[in-house]
């Protein structure tokens, strides 16, 4: 994006959202065109959202962060340059570049980094922060020739690396990836000496746009995809299994098919981070099973579920996989080497990301892996990520066991050895609870999503409560699967958000959750901020089943009513107070 394009975007009338996204840009230099580009990139990424952008005080980066009023902003974008660590590392200061000054520059940079880190940590308790570490070349102040990295220069780079690693722990502070920036903005084309000295703005325009574009992506923080459906022949491996046989397919250096091995390795990485992987292949089932038994297979069959291997249409396979996973097509990526299959699936599932595997094109496969990382990337890997696939398999086993047992649901639940842990502590680092609220659709009281800032405001409000629910039974753990947010008003509770993962349906966890709310707060009545959404049918069915009438906006449930109408509950319950 060039500056004229950015200004053109900003010329268009802003939307009149009730709740604008309030961004604060803090940098030590004059924000000038960086501010313009950031606004324009945010407008482009968030066309339905009004964005307001404020900037900090010129020359005082740490002070701008320390003075931040969290209640007046939703996200903080921080751009650090070398001169913020010590003015002598910029050009506008003439504080001295003598060799004897170098140890002191490192020392004062260390102190400045410490102050910045403290300010960032404090601010991150209230709002999410996106940080760009120094992007400009260091000035030629070191005694070594420029092709040689000297001791003090390396110490400064180590300082910045350690600083970035330290603040990136946890999920509140998102650090911009310098390698990604290197790809879009070469180092030699970043510094504008003239505008730095004349206007206090050190970036060339393309660099300002590149930094702003990545910051906007960090601010948007898109929801990761949940699952990937892959083809097998000439995709997961090279060769046609039905023709070449299990020993004829390959993914190795010797046969120049190594990129398929890298693809398998990448899928293994996604699976280990909680992404669901399934196979949709027109193939012979027995042969596929045999292929997955090969000892050199990089992607374990344990990481793949389900396998849809037959000769029916791919879109039918995809439909069944979505049903098993219980996720929508918008949360899934489909990959197949056949453009025809890709088109067939895309025609059925418009919202799905459908990609043709670029067989035999090394660079394109490499680029595909990077694109997939962007689709599935997440800041924190939770316990639930580790057990997601296991719990989906467990749910399938549970369904099959229930069907096979043939007894009543009560009999089945009684024998399932279920235990539920209810926790009432408000943990700021509870990303799973926040994630559940923002991605659950089916069992969702009102479809309301929370921004990072709104989540932190909720946690800091002493009048609110948060209940999280962990579940496990003899079929395996489901992890943290439900969240209730609300307020206590004497003997009455008001529930503002209630979500439960679809993996936890049919276990009466929702009934047990209400029971615990009544008991914990000694409440006589619970009022719900219910809103019907196109996708919260399961929640509507639950209330209709419990109360005997379809829910409406005045939804409430008294303790007496609940006691009378709740079915039998067989869970072992543990309550943890915050």
């Amino acid at each position: 994006m060039n500056l004229v394009e950015a200004l053109e975007i900003l010329k268009k009338a802003a939307l009149e959202n009730e709740h604008p996204l309030r961004v604060v840009l803090a940098c030590g230099f004059t924000p000038l065109h960086l501010q313009t580009f950031l606004m324009a990139h945010l407008r482009k990424r968030l066309p339905q959202q009004r964005v307001e952008l404020k900037t900090g005080l010129y020359g005082d980066l740490a002070g701008s962060i320390e003075r931040l009023t969290a209640s007046k902003s939703d996200v903080l974008a921080v751009v650090i340059e070398w001169q913020d660590l010590d003015p002598r590392l910029g050009m506008r200061s003439l504080g001295g570049w003598r060799t004897t000054d170098l140890p002191d520059i490192v020392k004062s940079a260390t102190e400045a980094a410490t102050r910045l880190e403290q300010a960032l940590r404090r601010a991150s308790e209230s709002i999410p922060i996106c940080v760009c570490m120094p992007t400009l070349p260091l000035p030629p102040l070191f005694s070594t020739p420029t092709q040689r990295a000297g001791e003090y220069e390396l110490q400064l780079r180590q300082l910045v690396g350690s600083f970035a690693a330290s603040i990136s722990r946890g999920s509140s502070i998102r650090v911009l990836n310098s390698q990604r920036l290197d790809e879009s903005s070469p180092m030699h084309a970043r510094l504008d000496v003239a505008t730095d000295l004349m206007a206090g703005f050190p970036y060339k325009l393309p660099h300002a746009s590149a930094v702003a574009e990545l910051l906007a992506a960090l601010i948007q923080n898109p929801t990761p995809k949940k699952g990937l459906i892959t083809d097998l022949d000439d995709t997961l491996w090279a060769g046609i299994l039905g023709e070449a046989g299990t020993e004829g397919i390959s993914w190795n250096i010797e046969q120049h098919t190594h990129m398929h091995g890298l693809y398998q390795q990448f899928l293994g990485s996604l699976a280990s981070a909680g992404a669901l992987i399934a196979v949709a292949s027109k193939n012979d089932r027995a042969l596929v099973e045999k292929a997955f038994e090969r000892r050199d297979m990089i992607l374990s069959k344990e990481n793949v579920y389900p396998f849809e291997v037959h000769w029916s249409r791919k879109s039918e396979s995809v439909q069944r996989i979505l049903k098993t996973w219980n996720v929508g097509p918008e949360a899934v990526v489909f990959i197949d080497d056949s453009p025809m299959e890709v088109a067939e699936v895309k025609a059925t599932f418009q919202e799905m990301e459908c990609i043709a595997f670029p067989n035999n094109d090394y660079q394109a496969i490499w680029d595909l892996l990077k694109r997939l990382r962007d689709f599935f990337g997440k800041s924190v890997i939770s316990e639930e990520d580790a057990i997601r696939l296991k719990s989906i398999r467990g749910a399938e086993i549970l369904r099959e066991s229930r069907d096979a047992a043939g007894g009543t649901l009560d009999d089945f639940l009684r024998s399932s050895e279920s235990s539920i842990q209810f926790a009432f502590g408000k943990q700021p680092g509870d990303n799973r609870a926040f994630e559940l609220i923002n991605k659950t659709n089916q069992f969702n009281l009102n479809g309301k999503r929370l921004s990072d800032a709104a989540w932190k405001t909720f946690l800091n409000d002493p009048a609110t409560f948060l209940m999280t629910v962990n579940y496990q039974d003899k079929f395996g753990p489901l992890g943290k699967i439900a969240v209730v947010l609300g307020t206590v008003e004497g003997k009455k509770l008001r529930v503002g958000s209630w979500v439960m993962s679809c993996r936890a349906f049919s276990r009466r966890i929702e009934h047990q959750s209400l029971k615990q709310l009544f008991e914990k707060f000694d409440a006589e009545e619970i009022c719900f901020d219910y809103v019907a959404t196109p996708r919260n049918g399961p929640l509507q069915e639950f209330f209709a089943g419990l109360l005997g009438v379809a829910p409406d906006t005045s939804l409430r449930c008294s303790r007496a009513d609940f006691g009378e109408k709740s079915p039998s509950l067989f869970h072992r319950v543990e309550v943890m107070n915050g």
């Binding site: 060039n2 500056l3 200004l7 053109e8 000038l32 313009t36 003239a194 505008t195």
Partner: protein, 80 residues
């Protein structure tokens, strides 16, 4: 209006979106309240991008009206 004048009007319009093409051609630092130092630096950046010129910020004091900017760009554009 020739092609260069068109491009100049477009540049001015991106920095001063509230001005009409006619107002832009008559614009000067005195007549346009929004023409402050920030707008001046932005205008220079836009002109550099549009015409591939290197405009020294030292020349800013001379670029005080549309007419002056047009003259500057015509001279430096033909020189480059």
């Amino acid at each position: 209006m020739d092609e260069m004048e068109n491009r100049l009007v477009r540049c001015f319009s991106s920095v001063f979106p509230d001005l009409s093409a006619e107002q832009i051609r008559a614009a000067s630092v005195e007549s346009v309240p929004a023409w402050d130092s920030l707008a001046a630096v932005t205008l220079v950046a836009v002109l550099q991008e549009e015409f591939g010129l290197q405009i020294s910020l030292m020349d800013l004091p001379d670029l005080v009206s549309f007419v002056a900017v047009e003259k500057y760009v015509r001279e430096h554009n033909s020189a480059s």
